[in-house]
Subunit: 210 residues, 2 copies
DNA sequence: CGACTATTTGAAGGGACTCAAGGCGTGTGG
DNA sequence: CCACACGCCTTGAGTCCCTTCAAATAGTCG
């Protein structure tokens, strides 16, 4: 579980929640509020002009969304699972890289976590082979998901994973089955993921399996 | 080769240059200097542990590299073409989203431009089909490259484009040939790219051609 | 229960990769 | 100045992985 009680922000924290599928930001909206995810998973989605939809990133507990780098939201944000988050004002989120002030570091760290999420996708998409991409994605996801005894909360629909990895839902399903048959993972229950062989998963993510 | 020895960390601008292939940053280096590209093209490269190399982004004139979001450089930066750039110190690059101060906006804009570069790649890799990706890449690149009369300086080797787009150099070559036969582009000379049909290029980038 | 969505599985076809060889351009050294 | 080497681009042929299409099953929510 993730506890943000030790993180202090200057403005008052307000607790919010959202149901799966709910939209938090819409691409193009003015940047007016900053969200810090406490529990649950959210996705950044790009809707291109010709109706094509693309999952650009997943956000996990601790991530900060909506930092006003630009004047407008650069992507839509939708809840994947049940969310709880806090809302902050952009005011006072000053960042000064040279100073080690607490607040400044928080803002830089928030921006960096967001950018990391996009870079991570790029690195996965750069790898060849569906199995490699799926393996890399699982290794990435479980580093950010809460777990009990190697059993992770895994609320990500395969269709979102497929969009994120630029592949088809059928391929995602087939790779999951293969991973189950290889006894690398198990699905004890819906929205749960058990990692049976962390080491082999790492090798798959690097493209060296079989 | 590597420059850090002769770089001075001052708040004033110093002009520098680099030859094609030169390395400006190495992944993992401490973030000590900020570069602003004046002319030329640079690439951000990721070297993974198993020796796999991946071009993660291209940087164009006006972009800022090496902003210390994290303690260490997040990628290596290499010159693609002849570069000229200025070096800045991280000191004084304070950012405060709520204030409209000049320097503050510069830093936020610099971060945003960098992040945009990574996001752009993700959006391209998410598209299906080599032709769509190449088209989207060309449309993206020429928005950042200097030109005279629709003839752009295009110093990007096809091997870099292939790595960037997660495809093979052969495929890049074939798509270029097809674009030439379709009279969308022309290559009047090495390192030059002429756009003959901007509109058709846009349609190709959206996945609707033929 | 029944409608809906998400997942699963199979079959077939095509697009991109790999492998291999040849051409082109550039820089270097004899 | 020429010959050569090297890297990059080009082109062809064959193979395979992944997509598409189609249909069945499972899970969810009213």
């Amino acid at each position: 579980m993730y506890h943000s009680s030790n993180l202090q922000f200057q403005s008052r924290e307000i607790g919010f929640s959202a149901r799966p599928g709910e939209t938090l930001f819409v691409q193009g909206d003015p940047c007016a509020k900053i969200l810090r995810l406490r529990t649950g998973v959210a996705r950044a989605v790009d809707y291109s002009l010709n109706g094509f939809r693309q999952v650009m990133a997943f956000f996990f507990p601790g991530d900060v969304l909506g930092f006003p780098l630009a004047a407008e939201q650069r992507y839509s944000v939708e809840a994947v699972s049940e969310l709880s988050f806090t809302v902050h004002s952009p005011m006072g989120w000053a960042t000064k890289p040279s100073c080690a002030g607490n607040q400044e570091l928080q803002a830089l760290d928030a921006i960096w976590r967001e950018e990391k999420a996009f870079i991570a996708r790029g690195l996965m998409l750069g790898r060849a082979g569906s199995m490699t991409r799926i393996g890399a994605f699982l290794a990435y996801a479980i580093r950010h998901l809460p777990a009990e005894d190697d059993i992770y909360d895994f609320p990500l629909p395969q269709s979102d994973i497929a969009s994120y990895l630029a592949t088809s839902p059928e391929t995602v399903c087939r790779m999951f089955r293969q991973l189950r048959e290889m006894e690398v993972i198990a699905i004890p229950r819906k929205d749960r993921l058990q990692v049976l062989d962390r080491h082999k998963l790492g090798r798959i993510a690097e493209g060296l399996w079989q």
